[in-house]
């Protein structure tokens, strides 16, 4: 398959791994932000190819994993209302709330539908004028433009039965929160290529400046990840800290301006809770006042549904790279993708789930 196979080429991958070994003279702790990158590392066993000195730590960039418990509980409550059609991205359905998940809500008679695009939810609203259609609008900057587009289109058409339950998170404030943590171990970041396709990488420059930490915008195939690691190692070994772009086939400095404009039109920056991490100031998006009539948290009475996450698993330490998923006593025993105790076991892009699916043999050794 063109444009894919080149980036999975075993010869190139091994060559990059060799160069990384040659360039590495001391231990470095690197974090890939995006769950898609974690998935690739585990699926292809890239950590097996790297020298022992390079430790990869898996970041908080799994949108499904970091969606707050409260949002899931609210979505489930909405789904169980007879007048509501709840539309969601597929992998949200299995995410456990406090006492249920959307699959269970569906089994209990809730009208829950999977969409590939938020615009499908708008279409469902158009086709069902007597029902209230709520789209569970979650994700990072990657899904923000299509989600914004859905609200924009609904407003333009004057759809009165469409709203969105929004839980949007932003990458740069999360990196900042990790860097200022006294426990931080991360010395270099692979920034998420899809997020940067939308946002560009201008906004990462202040992070490299403030924290003297190198950041490489990376893609999602094995060769992308290995090349990103090499670029980080070269900066670290050379005592440099700047933003570099490995994912040039998709990412530009300024990003996708029309996409940013529709985000800007519909959303504004807000404080945001992250499941497994907690609140981070100005790290999320909410609908602007002009879009209040499309904001499910205002259209419906949801304020009473709140949830605090009980302390149980070690996801905090995992997401900061302080511990590995396999360090958790519950891993693979009480905590599995069928019965996840914690956020990173929820989606296939979560660090714990990626370890569970692809690396159990290593844990067993």
């Amino acid at each position: 398959m063109r444009y894919i196979d080149e980036y999975r080429d075993a010869r190139i991958a091994r060559q990059l791994a060799k160069e990384i070994s040659q360039r590495t003279t001391q231990p470095w702790v690197l974090m890939e932000i995006c769950g898609g990158q974690t998935h690739t590392i585990m699926r292809y066993g890239l950590d097996e190819l790297l020298p022992k000195h390079i430790e990869l730590v898996h970041g908080p960039g799994c949108p499904v994993c970091v969606t707050p418990l409260e949002t899931i509980d609210r979505a489930i409550a909405l789904a169980l209302r007879p007048e509501v059609i709840l539309v969601s991205y597929g992998d949200m359905l299995r995410v456990p709330g406090s006492s249920s998940d959307l699959f269970l809500a569906k089994a209990q008679g809730g009208d829950v539908r999977i969409a590939y695009s938020p615009l499908e939810a708008v279409k469902i609203a158009r086709a069902n004028p007597d029902r209230k259609v709520v789209f569970l609008a979650i994700g990072f900057e990657t899904t923000a433009p299509p989600n914004a587009m859905a609200a924009w289109q609904a407003k333009r058409e004057g759809l009165s039965n469409f709203s969105m339950l929004v839980s949007h998170v932003l990458v740069p404030p999360a990196i900042r929160a990790l860097m200022v943590s006294p426990q931080n171990r991360v010395q270099g970041f692979i920034a998420p290529g899809h997020v940067c396709t939308v946002m560009g990488f201008q906004e990462y420059e202040s992070l490299t400046r403030d924290f003297k930490v190198p950041i490489v915008v990376g893609g999602f195939e094995p060769v992308d990840i290995l090349q990103s690691v090499l670029m980080l190692v070269e900066q670290l070994e050379g005592h440099q800290a700047r933003v570099e772009n490995q994912y040039v086939r998709s990412v530009s400095y300024a990003g996708n301006l029309p996409a940013q404009r529709v985000m800007e039109e519909v959303f504004e920056i807000a404080d945001q809770k992250w499941r497994g991490i907690g609140p981070i100031p100005r790290s999320g998006l909410r609908l602007r006042e002009e879009y209040a009539s499309f904001d499910a948290s205002k259209v419906f009475d949801l304020q009473l549904i709140t949830a605090d996450e009980p302390a149980e698993c070690i996801s905090a330490q995992v997401l900061q790279g302080l511990r590995k998923p396999t360090d958790c006593p519950a891993f693979g025993m009480r905590c599995t993708p069928e019965n996840p105790l914690g956020a990173p076991m929820v989606s296939s892009e979560g660090a714990c789930a990626a370890y569970y699916h692809y690396r159990r043999h290593a844990a067993a050794d």
Binding site: R8, A311, N339
Partner: protein, 353 residues
């Protein structure tokens, strides 16, 4: 920011959900939830030696004749898809479940649960397709049943078929017979059926139409058995895909398995569709493929026989049975690293990004 840091240091996780108290769609996906249902509910309720083999078919001895029996219900949406329809599928699925036990399929039953309001023309097309598929497979539909449910209580049409066949003496194929050193053979490309259905259902269009591989496999099985009866087991990797089937065999035989990723045939268009949808073809359903666990000394000869049949022309040896961690299936990636090939909990879900 101070508060944020404090919270980060005290991170927390949700409590586990209670045991499932309602049936979920995932219970029918052929993955872990389905297996739990069989293990915890059906098997204890109906326990007997024929059932407890948990193969695709039961084999019982009646007056010296080894009779294979199997049943399957078909609830596919859409009813008609490129490469087949619910009618042909209802024949192929059941014939294949018989064939995987080495049985020669003889008779089928067909029971229809029809939703009120289904156009007569649709039913006629489905019935004609059933007839055609049965004729092609050389099998007769000798009994049946019809029920009609109120509009909204069904989804157009559901079909159940039960099949009966005869197994030759001395032939023992079962998922608990895989042994260290055996080879894992796959009859052709994976993922075609699942992706054809998904593409049709979601209105996804690709440069070429992806066709379901739905087909009766008993002819291919007969060709393989002509080489030797010394095969360990055969399975058709339907729901849950290749990975679920191999995990089941590894678990029931208490062996490990190591696959070679580059040996597994996948069509370019199926790979492309899976990339686009974020799906792993190892978990996508097939309706015209089989995997066989074969002793190493006959593997090449069986492979040659498979390749001489058009239904097995792309057959490959895709892995080896190992003594490693029992029940664990691993795979050598093209990069020379190793990963686990897990069984899914429920249906594969499209990812957000």
């Amino acid at each position: 920011m101070g508060d944020a840091l404090k919270t980060i240091a005290e991170i927390s996780c949700p409590a586990p959900l209670p045991a499932k108290d309602a049936i979920l769609l995932g219970h029918g996906s052929g993955g872990k939830l389905s297996a739990e249902l069989v293990r915890d509910l059906f098997l204890p309720a109906f326990f007997n030696p024929a059932l407890s083999r948990l193969d695709d078919q039961a084999i019982v001895n009646v007056n010296g004749t080894r009779i294979a029996m199997t049943t399957d219900s078909f609830v596919v949406k859409p009813l008609f898809f490129p490469g087949g329809d619910i009618g042909s599928l209802a024949v192929h699925g059941t014939v294949n479940d018989l064939a995987m036990g080495g049985a020669t399929p003889l008779f089928l039953s067909a029971a229809f649960i029809i939703e009120e309001g289904l156009p007569m023309d649709t039913l006629q097309r489905v019935v004609a397709s059933l007839r055609q598929a049965a004729d092609a497979a050389g099998i007769a539909i000798i009994t049946g049943d019809t029920k009609v449910v109120e509009k909204g209580s069904g989804d157009g049409i559901f079909i159940n078929t039960t099949g009966i066949g005869i197994v030759p003496d001395g032939l023992e194929l079962s998922a608990n017979r895989a042994r260290q050193g055996d080879k894992v053979l796959l009859s052709g490309s994976i993922g075609d059926h699942g992706i054809a259905i998904l593409a049709q259902r979601e209105g996804l269009e690709f440069e070429t139409t992806i066709q379901s591989d739905s087909v009766a496999l008993h002819g291919l099985v007969a060709d393989m058995l002509r080489v030797t009866h010394d095969l360990r087991c055969m399975r058709d990797p339907t729901r849950g895909g290749l990975s679920s089937t191999l995990n089941e065999i590894a678990e029931q035989s208490h062996v490990g398995m190591e696959l070679v990723e580059s040996a597994i045939p996948i069509r370019e268009e199926v790979r492309g569709a899976c990339e686009l949808l974020g799906l792993d073809p190892l978990y996508v359903a097939n309706e015209g493929k089989l995997v066989a666990i074969v002793p190493a000394d006959v593997a090449e000869r069986v492979l040659t026989a498979m390749r001489q049949n058009p239904l097995g022309e792309h057959a490959q040896i895709i892995g080896t049975v190992t003594a490693g961690s029992p029940g664990l299936v691993t795979m050598r990636t093209p990069l020379g690293t190793t990963r686990v090939v897990d069984m899914l909990a429920g249906d594969q879900l499209p990812r957000i990004c």
